[in-house]
C-alpha cells in the first residue's frame, strides 16, 4: 500500500482487498444459475475464476443425428433452444438444402425471414426478462415474458405451435401467411412500438439498472474477436458482423435493415443492441408483409409430388402444405455443407456430412451459447461477485442451447 488511490474515481478492480479466498458453488440448484453450475473462486468480493460446469441439459443432438433420418432431426435440432426454434430449424434446413440442391420459392424465403424475425423479437424479450430477474428487477422479467407472449401468439397462428414450431421444411415452409395473420402482426408491431418507451422508462433508463450494467463485463473489440463472441455480444463490442449482411439467406438480401453496433462493449451496450434489434426486426417484418410476393411456398420438386386432391383440400383452402411420402425417408446425395444463420443470440453454424444414406453421417451444431461459454469464463474473471449474474444475463447465455 503505497500511494492511496483516489477513492472517488477508482473502479472495482483497482481496490486492494485483503485476500479472503473461498469458493462458491452457484448452481445447479441455485436460483440464479439456470441449468448449469458455476464454480466461483472468490477473493473477497472479486471473482478470481469462474468455471462453467456445463452439460446438465445435454441432449446429445449430434450423436442422435447419426441414427435419425433427416426429417426426424427437424424437431430435434430446435429443442436445444425452443425460444429460438425457427432459427435452429432454419440453419439445419439451409445445410440440408445445400446438399440436396433444392431451390426455394421466393414466397417461402420471405416467410422464413418473417418467422425468423418474429422469433428474434420473442427471444430478445426473453433474454431481457432473464437479465432483469438476475438483477432483481422482477417487472422487467414479467414484462419480457408478457410481451413475448404476443409474438408467441403470432407464431402460433402462423405455425400451429407456440415454441416448437418445426415450421421450415426442406424446400419451403409448412404454412402460408393469411390475411388474418397479417393483421395480427400489424397489431403486434403497433403494440410493441408503444411498449418500448415504457420499457425505457422502467428498465433501460432506470438509474438502478444502468448502474448495474454500465462498465460491467467490458469486452474490448480485440477480446471479442479473439474469444469468438457472437451476435449481440459481438456487436455490443463494436464489431460489425451479422450473417444476414455477410451471407444473406432467406430473403435478407432483398430487405433493408440496419445492424446496430455499439462501441462500449459492456453489458449495457449489449442490452442496447438487443433493444435496437427488436426495432430493426419490426421494420423488417413490416417490409415483408408489404412486399411478400405471391407464389408457392414449397419447391416445385416436392410440390409436384403432392397428390392434386390433397393439394386442393389442404393447400388451396387452408394454406397448409401436406408432405409427399418422399419426406418420410429420403436419401440426399453424398456431400457436405456448412451453413450459418444469425440466430437471436448470434451466429449458428451447422456442418452436415452426408454419405448418401437416409441418415446424416455427421451433424455438427455449433450454437451461439456454445461459443459464449469461453466468453463468459473470461469476462467473469476480475468481476465482482454480484456482477456474475449481470454478465450472465447480458450475454444472454442459454444453457440448453450451449449443451445441445
Amino acid at each position: 500500500m503505497t500511494a492511496q488511490p483516489n477513492v472517488f474515481t477508482m473502479d472495482a478492480t483497482q481496490i486492494d482487498i485483503v485476500p479472503i479466498e473461498g469458493e462458491l458453488n452457484v448452481g445447479p440448484q441455485h436460483p440464479g444459475s439456470g441449468h448449469l453450475r458455476i464454480y466461483v473462486k472468490l477473493n473477497g468480493d472479486i471473482i478470481e475464476k469462474a468455471e462453467l460446469d456445463v452439460g446438465y441439459v445435454h441432449r446429445s443432438v449430434e450423436k442422435l443425428a447419426e441414427v435419425r433420418n433427416y426429417m426426424h432431426l427437424i424437431p430435434l435440432v430446435e429443442r436445444p433452444a425452443i425460444l429460438d426454434s425457427i432459427h435452429m430449424n432454419l440453419g439445419y434446413i439451409l445445410a440440408l438444402e445445400k446438399i440436396m440442391g433444392v431451390d426455394v420459392p421466393d414466397r417461402a424465403q420471405y416467410l422464413r425471414s418473417l418467422a425468423a424475425e418474429i422469433n428474434r423479437i420473442a427471444s430478445h424479450l426473453y433474454g431481457t426478462g432473464i437479465l432483469a430477474v438476475f438483477l432483481g428487477h422482477s417487472t422487467g422479467f414479467m414484462w419480457g415474458f408478457g410481451d413475448r407472449e404476443v409474438w408467441v401468439e403470432v407464431l402460433q397462428a402462423l405455425t400451429g405451435a407456440r415454441v416448437t414450431n418445426s415450421y421450415i421444411i426442406p424446400g419451403g415452409v409448412r404454412r402460408d401467411l393469411t390475411p388474418t395473420i397479417k393483421e395480427m402482426i400489424e397489431k403486434a408491431i403497433r403494440y410493441q412500438r408503444k411498449r418500448i418507451p415504457e420499457w425505457k422508462r422502467i428498465f433501460l433508463n432506470n438509474p438502478n439498472i444502468r448502474a448495474r450494467l454500465e462498465n460491467v463485463g467490458v469486452m474490448s473489440k480485440e477480446q471479442a474477436i479473439a474469444w469468438g463472441a457472437v451476435g449481440p455480444n459481438l456487436r455490443g463490442s463494436g464489431v460489425y458482423y451479422d450473417v444476414r449482411k455477410f451471407e444473406p439467406y432467406a430473403a435478407y438480401d432483398r430487405l433493408d435493415f440496419e445492424i446496430p453496433v455499439y462501441k462500449e462493449g459492456d453489458a449495457y451496450a449489449r442490452v442496447h443492441v438487443r433493444f435496437n434489434e427488436i426495432e430493426e426486426s419490426m421494420k423488417i417484418i413490416e417490409q415483408i408483409i408489404k412486399e411478400i410476393p405471391q407464389g408457392n411456398i414449397l419447391s416445385d420438386r416436392f410440390f409436384k409430388q403432392i397428390p392434386p386432391t390433397r393439394l386442393k383440400k389442404h393447400y388451396e383452402t387452408h394454406g397448409k402444405i401436406v408432405f409427399p411420402g418422399y419426406y418420410a425417408s429420403f436419401r440426399p446425395p453424398k456431400g457436405e455443407a456448412i451453413s450459418r444463420v444469425e440466430a437471436a443470440r448470434g451466429e449458428l453454424v451447422y456442418y452436415l456430412n452426408s454419405d448418401g444414406s437416409p441418415k446424416p453421417y455427421r451433424l455438427r451444431m455449433v450454437t451461439p451459447s456454445y461459443r459464449t461459454i469461453y466468453v463468459f469464463e473470461q469476462l467473469a474473471k476480475g468481476a465482482r461477485y454480484a456482477d456474475l449474474v449481470a454478465i450472465y444475463g447480458s450475454l444472454d447465455y442459454f444453457p440448453p442451447e450451449a449443451d445441445r
Partner: protein, 352 residues
C-alpha cells in the same frame, strides 16, 4: 364485577402494554406486515401484467399470506449438521426482536388531560417537553435518539444469524449487511441530528407537537431518512443482503419452517417500525389529534410509507453493494450535510 372490567381495561390500555402488544405493536403490526406482504405481491402483479394472489378467500386472495404463513410455519425445521443447534434456533429471534424493540421508545400519541381512554395515565406518562402525557411504552425525552440506538443493534444479530448457520451464501450476505449498516446508520443519524437541531429537542413528542411536519421544515433530511429506511430494511433497490439471484436468501438461506418465517419477518417489522418513526418525525405524526385517534393517524401515515417502500419492488432491481455504499457516501452524505446546515438555519430563523 365492574371493578374487574375496570382493572382489565386499565391493564389493556396501560400504554406500555398497549403500544407493545396491541396497537401498533405485535398484533396490529403482525397483521399489517401480512397485509403489506400481500400488498407487495398484489401491486407487483398489477404492474407486471399478472393477477397475483387470487384463490384464497374472495377478496383478491387476501388470506393467501395467512395460508402461506401457516404452511411455512408447519414445515419441518431442518437443523444442518455442523452448527450449534441452540445458537441456530435462537439466532433468528434476535433480529426480529431488535427490529421490534425500538418501538418502546417511540411515542405514538399524546394524552390529553381528560376525554381520552388514556387520560388515566396522564400523570404517570407525563412528558414535560410537551406539557402533556405521551403514549409510549417507555417515555423518554431522548426518544429521537433512543429508537435509533436500539435499532442499530439489528445488523449485529443478522451477522450472528449467518454465522450460526455456517453457510457461505449466508456469510456473504452477512458481510454485505455489515458494510451496508455502516452506510445507512450514518445517513439516518445525520438526518435525525438535522431534525434535532432544527427543533431544538431530542423528543419526538415535542417535534410532533411543534405542529410543523419535518418534511416541510427539512425536506432534505426527510429524503435522506427515507433512503436510509429503505436501505436499513433491505427493501428494493437495496435488497442486497438477501439478493436472491446471487445469494439464495442471504442470511436466511439455511432456515426452514418457523425459523425461516422469523428470519424473514425481521426486515418487514423493521420497515414497519422505521415507518412509524418516519411518520412521527417527518409527516407530522398524530398532530393535531391526541389519544387513540392520533395514534391511528400516525399508523395510517406509516402504512403509506410501508406500502410505498414495498411497491418499489416493482420498479427497481438491486444495486451492487459497492454502488450502494458509494452512492450513500458520495451522493447522500453531502445531502445529509446540507440537511444539517438547513436544520441549523431553520432552527435559528424559523422554529424557536
Amino acid at each position: 364485577m365492574m371493578d374487574i372490567l375496570q382493572d382489565i381495561k386499565y391493564v389493556i390500555f396501560y400504554p406500555s402494554f398497549f403500544v407493545m402488544i396491541i396497537f401498533p405493536g405485535l398484533i396490529a403490526g403482525g397483521l399489517f406486515v401480512l397485509f403489506a406482504i400481500w400488498f407487495e405481491r398484489k401491486i407487483a402483479a398489477r404492474v407486471q401484467m399478472r393477477v397475483g394472489p387470487y384463490y384464497v378467500s374472495r377478496f383478491g386472495g387476501i388470506a393467501q399470506l395467512l395460508a402461506d404463513a401457516i404452511r411455512v410455519a408447519l414445515q419441518e425445521i431442518i437443523i444442518p449438521a455442523g452448527v450449534n443447534p441452540t445458537l441456530y434456533v435462537i439466532a433468528p429471534i434476535f433480529p426480529l426482536l431488535f427490529a421490534f424493540l425500538p418501538l418502546a421508545f417511540l411515542p405514538i400519541g399524546v394524552i390529553p388531560e381528560q376525554g381520552s381512554v388514556f387520560s388515566a395515565y396522564y400523570h404517570s406518562f407525563f412528558d414535560p417537553g410537551v406539557n402533556m402525557g405521551v403514549i409510549a411504552a417507555l417515555p423518554t425525552e431522548y426518544s429521537l435518539i433512543a429508537v435509533l440506538a436500539v435499532e442499530a443493534a439489528y445488523p449485529i444479530f443478522i451477522i450472528l444469524q449467518a454465522w450460526a448457520t455456517n453457510n457461505r451464501f449466508a456469510l456473504v450476505g452477512a458481510v454485505r449487511e455489515a458494510y451496508l449498516s455502516v452506510a445507512y446508520d450514518v445517513l439516518i443519524l445525520m438526518s435525525v441530528i438535522a431534525t434535532a437541531v432544527e427543533y431544538h429537542t431530542l423528543d419526538v413528542a415535542k417535534v410532533v407537537q411543534s405542529g410543523i411536519p419535518g418534511i416541510v421544515a427539512n425536506p432534505l433530511a426527510a429524503f435522506v431518512f427515507f433512503v436510509g429506511l429503505i436501505m436499513a430494511t433491505s427493501r428494493f433497490p437495496f435488497e442486497i443482503v438477501e439478493a436472491e439471484s446471487e445469494l439464495v436468501t442471504g442470511p436466511a438461506t439455511e432456515y426452514s419452517g418457523l425459523l425461516f418465517l422469523l428470519a424473514m419477518g425481521g426486515s418487514y417489522f423493521g420497515t414497519y417500525v422505521y415507518a412509524l418513526y418516519f411518520a412521527a418525525v417527518f409527516l407530522g405524526g398524530w398532530y393535531p389529534l391526541s389519544g387513540f385517534p392520533g395514534a391511528v393517524i400516525l399508523f395510517l401515515k406509516a402504512a403509506v410509507i410501508v406500502l410505498f417502500s414495498v411497491f418499489l419492488r416493482s420498479v427497481y432491481g438491486r444495486y451492487r453493494i459497492d454502488q450502494a455504499l458509494r452512492n450513500s457516501w458520495r451522493l447522500l452524505l453531502p445531502v445529509a450535510l446540507a440537511s444539517i446546515v438547513l436544520g441549523i438555519v431553520g432552527g435559528w430563523l424559523w422554529i424557536r
